[in-house]
């Protein structure tokens, strides 16, 4: 769009003024229109009027100016400024109301004119800018035209060039073709020449061969011979026959026989194949008829004539072809019928299938969304189901793995025990825990008791000491009293001192307290003991190691039994060890298993303890 010009030139405004004048004048009577127009249209005149107007009314010419105005106004169609004269001679009076009315009207008119002028000015402005815009457009289009013209020229030039090139290429192609033709001709000539040469050479070769043949064969070469010990009989046992015309004829006969046999064989094969194909065709036809006939009833109403006739044909054919004899006719006679009917049926079937296809597509389009939703639901259900299945399978696998591991651990020893063990393991564990706490409590009690015992023993020892001292003093006294029993007393003292040494007897028990508590809680503590034993061994514990340790223990125990006399602290320990051994023997397979299966061993052991408890 072009810019809107807001600048107004004076000429334009004067023009507008003229227009306003013109419009105001249009209201005048048509008779005076022309003279008024002449009067007012000339610009200098209007200027005169203007100048004149400035000095229009003076003191002297009021009357005249009034009359002039009246005249003017009346000519413009305003009511007269003067009142209606009553008399002829009476001087007409100026009607103030009329003057005011006139003035008002004039003012209104003036406003209107101004408005109109404004409108016209804006319109003019608009038109001017429109014009500018159009001019711009015009310029642009002109430019475009110019560029497109140039482009066209360029394209034309290129086209010309391409055509030129094309012509050149055509020329080249032609040249190449000529070349190819030439080369082909050369090849052909070479080939002929080669062939010719070959033939010549071959002829020469043949000649040489012939000559060689003559030389070699006709020389009665003694060497060419067959040495044979004795002639053997023919393979068929017959004697060789002479060559005669008869044999020739017989050979021919045989040859034709062979050929005939071959052809007969092939014909048979083809016949068989044909029969099979016919069978297939017949079956197909039958099936087609059966397929098409039930739904014939419905479409019959809307079916056009052609299909109707076809259907009747089919039925006819069906009746006809039900006779098997037609199939045995040679193809010549049946072929036409057969192919025609098949073709017709095929057409029907095709149209039917197409119809079905259309229906299906329609249905598909209609019910697409529903189907989609359903399928999604189905899909989700299916996935859920599958996930569930997977879960189940995983669990199954887990259990199987566990079972297998157990089986592996027991090495087929007795898997039933392990199974049984597993099944009442959990509740047993609970019970065991309870019992364990009970044992602990008992242990505490025992400990307390023992402490009190030891204290009592210490007290006893002290008392004994005191008593001994007392006794010693008493003995001393006695000794002093009767010095004759000197020797005996010294022995007694020794004995007593040995006795007093037995006061130490309590101390080791105190030291071996952790050990001693074991016999009390034997069943619960014994696994700990075994584990300690196995732990003391350097490498990972195995069954054999365990057995070794056990035997070690037993040996040790037996040794200790032997050594009971010198060491008084021993018997107690021996007894404990013995019980320990007994237990371990009883639970040997289980402990063995526990060693192998690692983590499950503790449970198994715990269970065994339980078993032993009651």
């Amino acid at each position: 769009m072009g810019d809107w010009m807001t600048v107004t030139d004076p000429g334009l405004s004067s023009e507008s003024k003229y227009i306003s004048q013109y419009t105001s004048e249009t209201k005048m009577s048509p008779s005076s229109l022309y003279s008024q127009q002449v009067l007012c249209s000339s610009i200098p005149l209007s200027k005169n009027v203007h100048s004149f107007f400035s000095a229009f009314c003076t003191e002297e010419n009021i009357e005249q100016s009034i009359s002039y105005l009246d005249q003017e106004l009346t000519t413009f169609g305003f009511p007269s400024l003067y009142e209606e004269s009553k008399g002829k001679e009476t001087k007409r009076e100026l009607n103030i109301v009329a003057v005011l009315n006139c003035m008002n009207e004039l003012l209104v008119l003036q406003r209107k004119n101004l408005l109109a002028q404004e409108n016209v000015e804006t319109q003019n402005l608009k038109l001017g800018s429109d014009m500018d815009h159009l001019q711009n457009c015009y310029a642009k289009l002109k430019e475009q035209l110019e560029t497109s013209r140039r482009e066209m020229i360029g394209l034309q030039e290129r086209d010309r060039q391409l055509q030129c090139k094309n012509r050149n290429l055509h020329q080249l192609l032609k040249n190449e073709k000529d070349e190819v033709q030439k080369l082909q001709n050369i090849i052909a000539s070479r080939a002929t020449q080669y062939n010719h040469d070959m033939k010549r050479k071959e002829r020469e070769y043949n000649k040489l061969k012939e000559r060689l043949h003559q030389l070699v064969m006709n020389k009665k070469d003694k060497k060419i011979a067959m040495e044979v010990l004795n002639y053997v009989g023919r393979a068929d046992g017959k004697r060789g026959s002479w060559r005669t015309g008869k044999t020739e004829a017989r050979n021919e006969d045989e040859m034709y026989k062979i050929l005939l046999n071959d052809y007969e064989y092939r014909q048979k094969q083809i016949l068989m194949e044909n029969a099979e194909l016919k069978k297939v065709l017949q079956q197909m036809k039958k099936e087609m008829i059966s397929l098409l006939s039930p739904q014939k009833q419905k479409p019959r109403e809307r079916a056009d004539d052609s299909t109707g006739t076809v259907i009747s044909d089919i039925e006819e054919d069906a009746g006809e072809l039900s006779r098997e004899s037609t199939w045995d006719l040679s193809c010549e006679t049946v072929r036409e019928q057969l192919t025609n009917s098949i073709r017709k049926q095929w057409r029907i079937l095709k149209s039917h299938v197409e119809k079905l296809d259309n229906q299906v597509s329609k249905v598909h389009l209609e019910g697409f969304n529903d189907e989609d939703v359903i399928s999604r639901q189905d899909h989700e259900q299916e996935t859920e189901k599958l996930e569930l299945e997977i879960q189940q399978c995983k669990e199954m696998i887990k259990t199987q793995q566990q079972l297998l591991q157990q089986q592996l651990a027991t090495a087929g020893d007795d898997d039933t025990t392990s199974l049984l063990r597993d099944c009442y393991l959990l509740e047993e564990k609970e019970r065991l825990k309870e019992e364990w706490s009970l044992f602990k409590e008992q242990k505490k009690n025992f400990e307390k008791e023992r402490r009190s015992f030891t204290e009592a023993a210490i007290r006893l020892g002290l008392e004994r000491k005191a008593f001994e001292e007392e006794r010693a003093s008493w003995l001393k006294q006695q000794f002093l009293n009767m010095t004759t029993f000197d020797h005996q007393n010294s022995e007694n003292v020794k004995l007593f001192s040995a006795f007093s040494g037995s006061s130490d007897w309590d101390n080791p028990t105190v030291h071996s307290r952790p050990r001693q508590k074991k016999p009390h809680g034997a069943p619960s503590g014994s696994p700990v003991c075994t584990s300690k034993l196995t732990k003391s061994l350097p490498a990972s514990p195995s069954t054999s190691d365990f057995c070794q340790t056990r035997s070690c223990v037993s040996e040790y125990s037996s040794i200790s039994v032997l050594n009971t006399a010198p060491e008084e602290s021993k018997p107690n320990q021996v007894g404990r060890e013995c019980t320990n051994q007994k237990w371990s023997v009883a639970s040997r397979p289980d402990s063995q298993e526990g060693c192998c299966s690692g983590c499950s061993s503790t449970h198994a052991d715990a269970h065994i303890e339980k078993d032993d408890l009651p």
Binding site: M217, K223, E227, L229, V232, G240, E248, N251, I258
Partner: protein, 508 residues
């Protein structure tokens, strides 16, 4: 799988008799005939010079030994060791010698293909056939032995003569529309003769027994053409391998192409099983089966046994069971005279198993870049063979020399690819079933069957480089030929496998 002792051999001349009873092998100028089962020597014949070619007569009664250098053919009888026959071609020389199907005539081709001499062992008669063509495969007999088709060249044109073998009478003589006939081959039913042009032009012609041209097939022009041709045993298909690396299969009704098998260097289809020979034997795959511990699997025998199963394709029927153990000496003792000659029972090193891995697709095969400026470029389908049951076709592309491709003819698609470490020397189908033996000139023999693939190290001190293989007509054993030795590999039959497995405990 049992291996026999290693016997001496020269020039890869080792052949089973057609009835499967005997095995003839040559050592320099000696011909040794052994019993095919016990490998005891039945006969020993001495020829005049180094033997260059041997052939059994169709009735397994005679053996022909050709001494090309001397232009001599010596014939030996198995029934009468004292009987002998010597044919001297004299100055004409000798380049090829073969039996006629009746086993009473010998066809000798003289040098320069001057003529073919037909010597009879029954009568003194000698026939000559002139103008035989010097080509890849110029003589072919029908399977029933009635007719002989012979490629001829006269006046720079190719002809084919069909002769009746019983009396060597000419039955048909016609010219073929070829530039340079390269080979002819009868269909197994003996009614159709395929004739193909030299490699300069792709052209194969099919003639009826009576000389009518049945059809001509040309896949393309202006390029190297046919390299190999094979009929299916049922005569239904004709496979044509060409220099463009494709095999085209023609049918016997319209003689048009049914399909063409390309041999791409990369295999993308995951359905195709690719067996790749591993450099070393991979670690034992028992880790997966650690629990529960296998009871008997850890026996030493399992390490000598190599059977690999495809992870997905193994169908449980282990049709190909191999047991690598030497045949026990007790066996041979019970079979015949216990001579050191017979089977070797000495425990040599147990053959180490060689595993093939089933490579996952896509697999790119090693391709050879052919030298374009040399004659006989190493491209194209160099060898192809149908399995005896018509179901499979094995091919080798010369540009991918390490691979054997096995095609399913029923589904007309690629079934498997076997990639060996070295170039495939030779492959041969078991004459009785779909079982392919492959050798690469290394110390192993490879066997493929639809059930899977096995490679077996040939036992023995030193290297036994298997250059060629030769099946026993019954398919029970396989002769493995190296440069100067051969040995037999006995494959167990179905019931044999069962007993072998039963005996395994005894062996270990």
């Amino acid at each position: 799988m049992n291996f026999s002792e290693v016997f001496k051999l020269s020039s890869l001349l080792c052949k089973f008799s057609p009835d499967g009873k005997y095995l003839a092998s040559c050592v320099q100028y000696r011909l040794v005939v052994r019993d095919a089962n016990t490998l005891q020597i039945c006969q020993l014949y001495t020829c005049l010079d180094q033997i260059q070619h041997i052939e059994w007569s169709a009735d397994s009664l005679f053996i022909l030994c050709a001494l090309y250098k001397r232009g001599l053919v010596q014939v030996w009888s198995l029934e009468q060791p004292e009987w002998h026959c010597k044919i001297d071609e004299g100055s004409a020389g000798l380049v090829a010698s073969c039996w006629s199907p009746d086993g009473r005539h010998i066809l000798n081709t003289t040098e320069f293909h001057l003529r073919i001499t037909v010597w009879s062992l029954c009568t003194k008669s000698v026939s000559y056939i002139k103008y035989p063509k010097a080509c890849q495969q110029g003589i072919t007999f029908t399977r029933d032995g009635r007719y002989l088709a012979l490629a001829e060249r006269r006046d720079c044109k190719d002809y084919v003569s069909i002769l009746v073998c019983s009396d060597w009478q000419l039955l048909r003589h016609f010219d073929t529309d070829t530039q340079d006939l390269a080979g002819i081959e009868w269909a197994p039913n003996g009614c159709v003769l395929a004739a193909w042009d030299s490699c300069l032009e792709y052209k194969i012609l099919l003639y009826s027994l009576d000389g009518r041209l049945l059809s001509t097939f040309c896949a393309y022009e202006w390029s190297l053409g046919i390299k190999s041709v094979a009929w299916s045993p049922s005569s239904q298909f004709l496979a044509v391998g060409s220099y463009d690396g494709k095999v085209r299969i023609l049918n016997h009704v319209t003689w048009k192409m049914i399909t063409e098998f390309g041999h791409p260097a990369t295999i993308n289809n995951p359905k195709i099983v690719v067996y790749k020979e591993a450099e070393k034997s991979p670690p034992l795959v028992l880790g997966r089966l650690a629990f529960p511990p296998p009871r008997a699997a850890a026996g030493p025998l399992s390490s000598t046994e190599s059977e690999w199963r495809q992870r997905s394709h193994w169908d449980g029927h282990q049709a190909l069971q191999c047991r690598l153990a030497r045949r026990s000496s007790g066996n041979t003792a019970s079979q015949g005279r216990a001579q050191g000659q017979a089977l070797c029972a000495a425990a040599k090193f147990p053959p180490s198993p060689v595993f093939h891995e089933v490579a996952s697709v896509p697999v790119s095969l090693q391709t050879l870049k052919p030298a374009a400026d040399r004659a006989n470029p190493r491209i194209g389908i160099g060898a192809l063979a149908f399995s005896p049951d018509n179901c499979f076709l094995a091919t080798r592309s010369d540009s991918v020399p390490t691979a054997v491709w096995i095609w399913d003819i029923q589904k007309l698609r690629l079934l498997a690819v076997l990639e060996q470490l070295s170039a495939v020397r030779c492959f041969q189908w078991d004459p009785r079933q779909a079982r392919l033996a492959i050798c690469t000139g290394g110390g192993k023999v490879y066997l493929w069957s639809p059930a899977g693939c096995v490679s077996v190290q040939v036992p023995g001190e030193g290297d036994f480089q298997v250059l060629s293989v030769c099946w026993h007509p019954s398919g029970d054993s396989l002769a493995l030929l190296s440069k100067d030795h051969f040995c037999l590999c006995f494959l167990e039959t179905e019931q044999g496998v069962g007993t072998a497995f039963g005996q395994r405990g005894d062996h270990t």
